[in-house]
C-alpha cells in the first residue's frame, strides 16, 4: 500500500520519504479547485454540497483512526453528536458566534474522546467494535433521557447562529453554508494531511500493521493511539458543530447508530487509509442517495447496497484504491 523501499535503503531516507509524501501533486490542486465548481455549475445544490463537505470532514476523522491507526469503530457518531449538541447548546443559551462555537465543540468532543481513549487502547478487534458501538448507544440514550437539556426526541430548538464575522448571514440558497463548511473542511484536511505525513503518522500505520512489534522498536503505541483518538474525536465534533450551525437544528439523529454506520460505508466506498478516499466516499454516497431517493423515495437503499457490494468485491481498497491501481506510478 505504501512504498517504503526508499526508507529502508537510505540511512536518512525516512526524512526524505516523508518530505516527498507531503508534496502537493497536480491532482490534489485540481481537486480542491474543483470543489469551487458548485458555486458556478450547481448553484441550486449548495445545501447538499455543504452537507457533503460536513460528511467528508466526519469521514476524515474516522479515517484517521480506522484507516491509519486500525481502530475499527461503529460509534463515532457519538463525537459528531456531542459536537453538534455543544455548539447548539451554547447558541441556545445566548452565544451564537460560529467560530467560537466550533472551538467549543472541538474542545468538548476532544475532552470526551481523551477520556474514552483510555478504554479504547485496552481492547482490539471484535471487542473494540462492541465497545465503540456500546458507547455510541449509551450516548444516544443519555441524550434521549436528558430531555430538559437536549429536547429529547423533538430535538434541540432555538439555535440562532450569528453571521460569520458579523458579515455573512446564512442564506436560503446555501452560499454561506457551503463556503463556511468548505473552508473548515479544507483546514481540517490540511491538519490531517500534516498528521498522516509526519513520523507520528508513520508510527500509527506501524501500529495498524503490527501492534506487538511497535513496543519492540521503542514506540509508545498506547500514547500514540490515545493522541490520534482524541484528535479524531475533536474533528468529528467540529463536523457535528458545522451541521448544527448551518441547519440550526440538532436532533438525536446526530448521535444515531445509522450515522456511525453510514460514515463507515462512505469510507469503504471511497477507500480507507486515504484522506481523499474519505472525501470521495462521502461525495458518492450522498450524491447517489440524493439522486436515487429522488427517483424512488422508498427503496433507494437497495442501490447503495448494490454499489457497496460491487466495490467491496471488485475494488477492495475502495474506489480511490481502484483508480490508483489504474494510474501507473512514476518511480523517482
Amino acid at each position: 500500500m505504501v512504498d517504503t523501499t526508499l526508507a529502508r535503503h537510505h540511512p536518512d531516507g525516512a526524512h526524505t520519504w516523508l518530505k516527498r509524501q507531503s508534496r502537493w501533486s497536480v491532482f490534489e490542486i485540481a481537486f480542491w479547485l474543483a470543489t469551487l465548481l458548485p458555486f458556478f455549475l450547481f448553484p441550486t445544490y449548495l445545501t447538499l454540497a455543504s452537507q457533503i463537505a460536513i460528511a467528508a470532514l466526519f469521514a476524515i476523522s474516522v479515517d484517521l483512526i480506522l484507516g491509519y491507526a486500525g481502530i475499527v469503530t461503529l460509534g463515532h457518531a457519538m463525537f459528531f453528536g456531542l459536537g453538534a449538541y455543544s455548539a447548539g447548546l451554547i447558541s441556545v443559551h445566548g452565544w451564537g458566534e460560529p467560530l467560537t462555537g466550533l472551538a467549543f465543540a472541538a474542545a468538548f468532543a476532544g475532552l470526551v474522546g481523551f477520556i474514552v481513549s483510555f478504554l479504547i487502547v485496552r481492547v482490539q478487534h471484535l471487542a473494540l467494535i462492541m465497545i465503540t458501538l456500546g458507547l455510541g448507544l449509551l450516548t444516544y440514550e443519555l441524550a434521549n433521557a436528558l430531555t430538559w437539556l437536549t429536547g429529547g426526541t423533538d430535538g434541540l430548538r432555538g439555535i440562532r447562529t450569528w453571521p460569520i464575522f458579523n458579515q455573512f448571514r446564512f442564506d436560503l440558497w446555501g452560499y454561506t453554508a457551503y463556503s463556511y463548511a468548505l473552508a473548515v473542511l479544507f483546514l481540517g484536511f490540511l491538519a490531517s494531511r500534516r498528521i498522516v505525513n509526519s513520523s507520528f503518522g508513520l508510527a500509527l500505520r506501524g501500529i495498524r500493521e503490527n501492534v506487538r512489534r511497535m513496543p519492540a522498536i521503542g514506540s509508545d503505541h498506547r500514547r500514540h493511539l490515545q493522541t490520534i483518538y482524541t484528535i479524531s474525536a475533536a474533528i468529528a465534533g467540529i463536523a457535528g458543530a458545522l451541521l448544527a450551525q448551518t441547519t440550526n437544528v440538532v436532533a438525536l439523529d446526530a448521535l444515531s447508530f445509522n450515522r456511525s454506520a453510514d460514515v463507515v460505508v462512505m469510507l469503504i466506498l471511497g477507500g480507507t487509509g486515504r484522506l481523499y478516499g474519505a472525501i470521495l466516499g462521502s461525495i458518492i454516497f450522498l450524491v447517489a442517495r440524493d439522486q436515487l431517493a429522488g427517483v424512488n423515495p422508498q427503496y433507494w437503499y437497495f442501490w447503495i447496497g448494490l454499489l457497496l457490494m460491487f466495490v467491496v468485491l471488485f475494488m477492495p481498497k475502495g474506489i480511490l484504491g481502484g483508480l490508483a491501481r489504474l494510474v501507473v506510478r512514476r518511480e523517482p
Binding site: Y45, Q51, D154, G155, R157, W173, A251, D253, P297
Partner: protein
C-alpha cells in the same frame, strides 16, 4: 462582491424557473416524509391518504394542475428535512410544503417555510410547538395534549374516577401524554397516585403492572408505541388481574388500533381510549372513505396517518379554490385560517389564531360487536383546541 453577483444570477435563474412554472399553470407540492427506514409504514399510509384524495377529486384545482414531488428523510432527521425543504423551494420551485410524519422533520423544515414564505401543511407531527415555528404552518392531524387533556377531564367529570395511575413509554410522546392526561385529570379535581415510565424497546411489563396493582388505583392511563407492545401490555394486565371493570384501563387510540386489537384479542375488552379518528364511526362520509381506501390499498384499513394526509390535501385544494389558484404564501395561509369542513373523522376546522386543528375528540370503549372487537364511541367532546398554545412556557 462575488457572492452578491452569484446570488443575483441564481435569483434570476430561480425567477425564470418560477415564471416558467406559472406559465404551465401547475401548483407544485413538495411532500417530505420518512419513506424509508423504521417509519416507512407511517409514510406509506399517509401517502395513501394523499393519493386517495387526489384520485377522488382529480388533479386540477382552480384551473391549475397539482403536481406532487416526494422526498425521503429516512427518519426523524431535522437536518435532512431542512435540506430537502430548501431544495424543493430553491431547485424544484414548489409552492406548498406538505407531509411531515415526525416532529423533528417539521421542526427542521419550519425555518425554510418562514423564510421562503411558503404554506406548510403538517399532516401528522403531533407536538404542540410545531405550529409556532413558522407563521405559514397549518396542521391537519392532532396534538397529543388535545386528545389527552380532554380525556383526563372526562375521566373525572363523566366517568367519575377520583384517583388514577399513569404508565407511559419513556420517550417524547409518552412524556407529553403523561403530562397532558395528568393535567386534565388533576385540574378537574382528581389525584394521580403514581407515574411510571417503561423502556421504549422490548419492555417486560409485568413488574410495572405489579407496581400499579400495589397502588390499587381506580384507573390506569397507559401510553405505549404501537407494534408488538399493545399485545404485551394487554397480556401483562390480564395476568395480574388488572382489568375492567374492577380497574378502568385508559389509553390513547393507538393502543386499540384495529391491527393491535387483533393481536390483543379478548384482553382488550373494556379498554377506554381517546382519539380524533375512529375507523368504525358510523357516518356516510366515513363509510365511503373507508371503503374507497380499502379498495385502493389491498384491503388495508386507513389509520391516523391516512386521515391526516387526506384532510391535508383537502385543505390545500380548498385554499387554492379560495385564492383562485394564487400560490402566494400569505394569501394561502390567510385562506386557511378559520376554514371549517366535514371530514371522515367528523367536523374539523383550523383555529384562526394558532393555525392548529380544532376537532371532536372521541372517547371509545372496546366492545364486542357481531363477534368482532371494535372501538365503540361512548362520548364525543366537540371543538377541542390544543390547550398548550398561548400558555407561558
Amino acid at each position: 462582491m462575488f457572492a452578491r453577483f452569484a446570488a443575483l444570477v441564481t435569483l434570476g435563474f430561480g425567477l425564470a424557473w418560477s415564471a416558467q412554472a406559472g406559465a404551465q399553470d401547475t401548483v407544485k407540492i413538495g411532500v417530505i416524509l420518512p419513506y424509508s427506514g423504521p417509519f416507512a409504514d407511517a409514510a406509506n399510509q399517509l401517502q395513501a391518504g394523499i393519493d386517495l384524495y387526489m384520485a377522488k377529486h382529480g388533479d386540477t384545482v382552480a384551473g391549475k394542475k397539482i403536481e406532487i414531488i416526494r422526498k425521503d428523510t429516512g427518519g426523524p432527521a431535522p437536518d435532512v428535512a431542512q435540506r430537502l425543504a430548501q431544495e424543493l423551494v430553491v431547485r424544484d420551485g414548489v409552492d406548498i410544503l406538505a407531509g411531515f410524519a415526525l416532529t423533528p422533520e417539521a421542526l427542521g423544515a419550519a425555518p425554510v417555510s418562514a423564510e421562503a414564505k411558503k404554506l406548510m401543511v403538517v399532516m401528522n407531527a403531533a407536538t404542540s410547538i410545531v405550529t409556532e415555528q413558522s407563521p405559514y404552518i397549518v396542521r391537519t392531524s392532532v396534538t397529543i395534549p388535545q386528545v389527552n387533556t380532554a380525556f383526563g377531564q372526562w375521566a373525572y367529570e363523566v366517568a367519575g374516577v377520583r384517583q388514577a395511575y399513569t404508565l407511559v413509554a419513556d420517550y417524547g410522546p409518552g412524556h407529553d401524554a403523561e403530562k397532558s392526561f395528568s393535567k386534565g385529570f388533576t385540574d378537574a379535581g382528581g389525584t394521580i397516585l403514581g407515574s411510571d415510565r417503561t423502556p421504549v424497546a422490548n419492555p417486560d411489563f409485568s413488574a410495572f403492572v405489579q407496581r400499579v396493582k400495589d397502588a390499587s388505583p381506580e384507573a390506569v392511563y397507559i401510553f405505549v408505541p404501537g407494534g408488538a407492545q399493545p399485545a404485551a401490555i394487554g397480556k401483562a394486565l390480564v395476568d395480574r388481574g388488572l382489568a375492567p371493570p374492577a380497574t378502568k384501563i385508559f389509553a390513547q387510540g393507538e393502543l386499540t388500533h384495529p391491527e393491535a386489537l387483533e393481536s390483543m384479542g379478548a384482553t382488550a375488552k373494556g379498554i377506554i381510549t381517546t382519539f380524533h379518528y375512529t375507523l368504525e364511526r358510523d357516518d356516510p362520509l366515513n363509510n365511503e372513505y373507508v371503503e374507497a381506501y380499502r379498495a385502493a390499498n389491498n384491503g388495508r384499513s386507513p389509520d391516523l396517518f391516512s386521515i391526516g394526509g387526506y384532510d391535508g390535501m383537502h385543505l390545500i385544494y380548498e385554499v387554492l379554490k379560495k385564492t383562485d389558484g394564487s400560490t402566494d404564501g400569505d394569501a394561502l395561509v390567510e385562506a386557511a385560517k378559520g376554514m371549517a369542513w366535514q371530514s371522515p373523522r367528523g367536523p374539523m376546522s383550523i383555529d384562526p389564531e394558532t393555525r392548529d386543528v380544532v376537532q371532536t375528540v372521541y372517547i371509545r370503549e372496546v366492545q364486542e360487536v357481531d363477534g368482532k372487537l371494535q372501538n365503540v364511541i361512548i362520548h364525543s367532546i366537540p371543538e377541542v383546541k390544543d390547550p398548550l398554545h398561548g400558555q407561558p412556557k
